[in-house]
Symmetry: C2
């Protein structure tokens, strides 16, 4: 059984095709069931046999963004996992490959524990996928490199737009808890004068007063300013977040939520009762806030929220990302066939100047639950930018970017 | 003198480099003054000599989006044009090339009339540029093809995202008065099941009740729906718009404005007192409106506003667009050198199945002022989609698009 889960990436189908290819290489496996819409399709027994699928068609699928099998936002609890396991038993499923983020790793872990308790031979592999790049153990996640490439190109173009018409521009970038993708906007910067001039990530407390000072300083120096902010930037207040199991935890309050409260905007909430951040006008609020503080002589101020195109754009996939996404899919099958083990496929970056990676098996429990924030060492002391050391990390993942041509330096 | 004006495009520097190249080919012209930020740089006498500029650098500039000389939103009145003309006279400027939209054509026209009245030999050429594709006379405008390509790819990816996670998705696309760019989203559709399933342009009255019915019908059929709307879609009410010369005209009221009024949102206005549409949450409003009507069993509903990335993204320039943008720049210089004429460079599409164009000189007065809406014949009878005949028009301009791979048709 193979399934895809969670938000889209540009290369999630590379991993699916990697699984299909590797299973095709194994005569001992008779069927490869592809579940429609992940765990939802499993419990509804909506699957299709992918063994021996047309290769030319598979290559087109691999090059197309967003889960070709369909995805799901379902986060199975114990009972849901029990139903998954019963479907596996009923259909004699002996291998389960689940492409997704840390919640999917947890689903894989629970189902695997159930099989073990029932002495049912089931090998379960989680295949990492997320544009957020926030999985533990692995050096980076397939899907991140292409999203980072999109963000870099978008901010690069936006910076040229801002240089052309001047003023202030705020770009809101995906990343509810982790700043990895927003930090990738650094790739757009070619020298001290080009943007993004300021970068704010959720890992550093966002102080709105300091933000105004930061923007004013850049604007005074350059006559313009391009600002990249994560959708999930937080202030130093707390708010409650309800988890799938009903428990409640206190987290830093997102700036967007604080703003919405101050502006008396009704907050839409998801099935777990948590605020849907994607609907809050963070960029526009920050623009309005700055406009008020800069007063009469305020420059032109605009805000964009990049939105879903960051994770689904078919036009600029990172070649490295595509290749690695394919390989993590293949590796999952190879690891499962090689031994009576389960796990998550992880990527290790080779030592040395030239980019290269190897793959290894991580424990499901080490990848499930927790996520990996952007390390503090990448965030500058003023908490308004990213250190150059991060470029060494991200540049090989996003791939070569076109040079920016200017008439004068 | 050469200058760039108005909103960015991905190929506006191709036209600039076309002008520079063609001037370099002419020994009789000693200097080519590039004005910083268009007419604003002219009256401030901020220009730089571009004659004999480094060619390799120029090629990098040509491949970089957004006005390398800097652009401006200034729409000169008679007095402003007088100052431009005085600067020309003072600096012995005999040719003026202005890259921009219909307002720039009008500036060119006024300055040229002044020169004529004073018997000052000045040849003025407008070089067309706009992602809106709304200039008259020419078959299409440089800048449009690349923006159309971006929109097609973005909606193509978004449709795959929507197929993967289902629900309703609304994409707001640039186009205050003209639906050309929104119509280009049609390029993303590969068959009856793929999106965009509904397309709304400003040229057809938007009836919000019918909109809900349209969405419901698609959702009932497919379990999902991707909707492309122009930012400038209008209802059947009127509102006042103030022009640069202070005169007022009545126009159809944008849906976004109607919504903002109903929701008591303060409207930001530009220097002419007109509402800044880009700040209104049209997509979110439509999403909220639909959610309320679909009630308890409403699907997941999301909205994105593509924003400035449509006009500035460096990653997916249309090759045809880049080539034509270069050539309209060269033609402008060639026409000006060939005779004592002024005008605007226009593109004529060749007859026959294979795409090809020729260039010709249009009168400035025919391009200035008025714009060219999307012809009614391209809009379907239900006013919720675009006819297939439009694909013949737009496909060659956007260039080849990657095929969408699906596991099953």
């Amino acid at each position: 059984m193979v399934g895809q889960s969670g938000g889209s990436t540009a290369v999630i189908n590379q991993s699916l095709v990697g699984v299909i290819e590797a299973v095709d290489d194994c005569a001992a496996i008779g069927r490869l069931l592809g579940a429609h819409h992940g765990v939802r399709g499993i419990v509804q027994e909506l699957f299709v046999n992918l063994k021996g699928f047309d290769r030319a068609r598979l290559e087109r699928v691999a090059a197309t963004p967003c889960a070709a099998l369909g995805s799901t936002r379902d986060k199975p609890n114990e009972e849901y996992c029990r139903r998954i396991f019963e479907v596996f038993r009923k259909n004699d499923v002996r291998y389960f490959f689940y492409i997704g983020g840390n919640d999917s790793a947890d689903t894989a872990r629970i189902v695997r524990e159930m099989a073990k308790a029932d002495s049912y031979d089931l090998r379960v592999f989680h295949i990492p996928k997320t544009i957020d790049n926030d999985l533990r153990v692995t050096d980076h996640c397939p899907g991140y490199g292409s999203a980072a490439r999109f963000v870099a190109l978008a901010v690069m173009g936006d910076d040229r737009d801002n240089a052309s018409l001047t003023g202030l521009k705020i770009d809101v970038i995906m990343g509810r808890d982790a700043g990895w993708l927003t930090a990738a906007s650094m790739l757009a910067r070619s020298d001290e004068s080009t943007g993004p001039h300021l970068i704010y990530v959720p890992e550093a407390i966002f102080d709105i007063g300091r933000f105004v000072d930061d923007v004013r300083a850049v604007y005074d120096r350059l006559g313009r300013c391009v600002i990249a902010v994560s959708e999930g930037i937080v202030c130093d207040e707390k708010m409650e977040v309800r988890k799938a199991d009903g428990s409640v935890k206190l987290v830093d309050k997102p700036i967007a939520v604080k703003v919405a409260e101050e502006m008396h905007i009704d907050l839409e909430r998801d099935d777990h009762g948590n605020v849907v951040l994607s609907k809050l006008p963070l960029g526009q609020f920050l623009a309005d806030y700055i406009a008020e503080r800069l007063g009469k002589n305020k420059p032109r101020i605009r805000a964009d929220t990049f939105g879903y195109v960051q994770r689904s754009f078919p036009g600029c996939v990172s070649p490295v990302d595509a290749r690695e996404a394919r390989l993590v899919g293949r590796r999952a099958v190879q690891y499962a066939l090689a031994g009576r083990t389960s796990g998550s496929v992880a990527i290790r970056r080779n030592e040395g100047a030239r980019y290269g990676v190897s793959y290894f098996r991580a424990e499901l429990a080490d990848v499930a639950h927790q996520t990996k924030p952007l390390p503090k060492e990448y965030i500058n002391a003023a908490a308004n930018g990213i250190n150059d050391s991060f470029l060494d990390y991200v540049a090989p993942l996003a791939g070569d970017l076109p040079p920016i041509g200017r008439l004068f330096d």
